[in-house]
Amino acid sequence: MLLVAVNPPAVVAALGDGRRRRELALAAGLAAAVATATAGLSGPVLDALDVTAPTFRVATAVVLGVAGVRWLALGPWVLPGDASQQGWRSVIAPLLVPLLVTPQLIAVSTSVGADRGVATVVLGAGVAMVLAWVAAVACPRRPGWAVASRFVGLLAVVVALALAVDGVRSV
């Protein structure tokens, strides 16, 4: 679920020619840390919102579904050409926000954290971020990433539907 929320092919495609491996590595690490912290705070957050985990699951499905439809219909977001020229500042924007720390990542981390615990989020977010970084470093210019990102977008829609059904069908 975290893998489709991150959508590594979309991350690689978004970077285009302007990727920087060290900045991306730092941003990916920070994004994974944000996901982990979000999962750790999921209980208090749900309490503060006065919602149960199944209800949050349904809301997460909406967020993930919207992101998936967007990827599917419009393809990956492409960073502006100046994005890689900002040095370390690019770690915050645009790499961390809005590329890696997205509404769907926060929603999924909260939901999975509430349902399955922080360790699952650590693992899922870690794997997704490592995949994104490795792909961006190893083969950054492949045109297939845009197509792959749409495919992951389709998976995101499917996962979102399953998540919605699961949320609705919970006591």
């Binding site: 502006p80 926000v97 069908r169 006591v171």
Partner: protein, 391 residues
Amino acid sequence: VSVGRRLTLTAVVWVVGLGGLRLSFLAPEVCPPFDEGRALGAAASAAAWIEAGQEQDGRYLYEYDRDANEARPGYNIVRHAGVTMSLYQLAAAGADDALAAADAGLELMLDGLVSAGGGLALIDPGAPTARLGASALMAAALEDRRDATGDRRYDDELRALGRFLAVLVGPDGRALSSYDLTLDAPTPGERSRYATGEAGWALARLHSLFPDEGWDTPARAVADYLATERDAAEGLDFRPWPDQWAAYLLAELGPSHLDAEHITYARALAERFGMLVRVESQKDGWPVAFVDPRARGAGLGVWVEALGSLERLAAIDDRLADLRSALAARLACGAGLLVERQVEDAGARVFAAPELVRGAWFREGVTRMDDQQHALSGLLAAAGRIGVEAP
């Protein structure tokens, strides 16, 4: 684009998105506080509404418009039986003062019994057909009366009603909902989404009262049918159809073992009723123009009745152990909503006939007697007073 501007734009998108969710799917689940004492008080108040509107012949006030201060026309013998049953449930929970109104309602039903199918059936006066649901709920009412009083004077009628139910249920558990008194035969093809579960539950309770008489055979046939075939066979969409009578039936059969498919069905019912209560608890946070109004008292009461039955079942069957805490939470939430939405004395005094407003659940200014019936039964279930010995 500067970093600050990019972050600002992102923040705006996030805030707008979160706001939209907060007004819809992520609206807060508001569950008023609930405790057994408040539930029993609210149940007694609902019974007082039923008694206040009861006529000399035992009929209850069927439907009432509080703004116009007028009773709406119409009556339904199935609902009459259900209301009577709920009063006996309250009596069985220890409120003896509900017995007089329930007995008056029972007298009307005893007068409406006719011979059918080798037993007795409850009908509307002069009706050419007998509906399964009416007889099933009358049987349930007599079973509750027996629990409440220990009085066995109506056991013959109870067994005769059971024989009629068994004839309509048939060996495969697919109940026909109507019996043609002229032809002295079941009406082919007529089924009811309510009556099958009602009949199954009444038969299961007959088995609990008279365990050596074979009532469990048709009761289990109904349970099998409901669990495995009914929704598809009767074209009910969005399975499982939320059948609180099926939940009552499963809880009644639970102590004598349920099969795997019954447990699967019970789990599905729990999920369905749990979701209904969760959504209901969110409605106060939704923009009114885009959503249905709050559920009727009968609707919410039915959900709470079902959750109460399923909680009872989960308590004795470890295959549902993982649902126990969630069921308890949802049951308390639904019951809390019922108590909060019931019209209290202060709210009733502004109307022309406060005794016909107090203790009831209104939607758009109107209440019907089954609003009070189901809410009353639900509150008793939430208080743990259904399916257990009277204190």
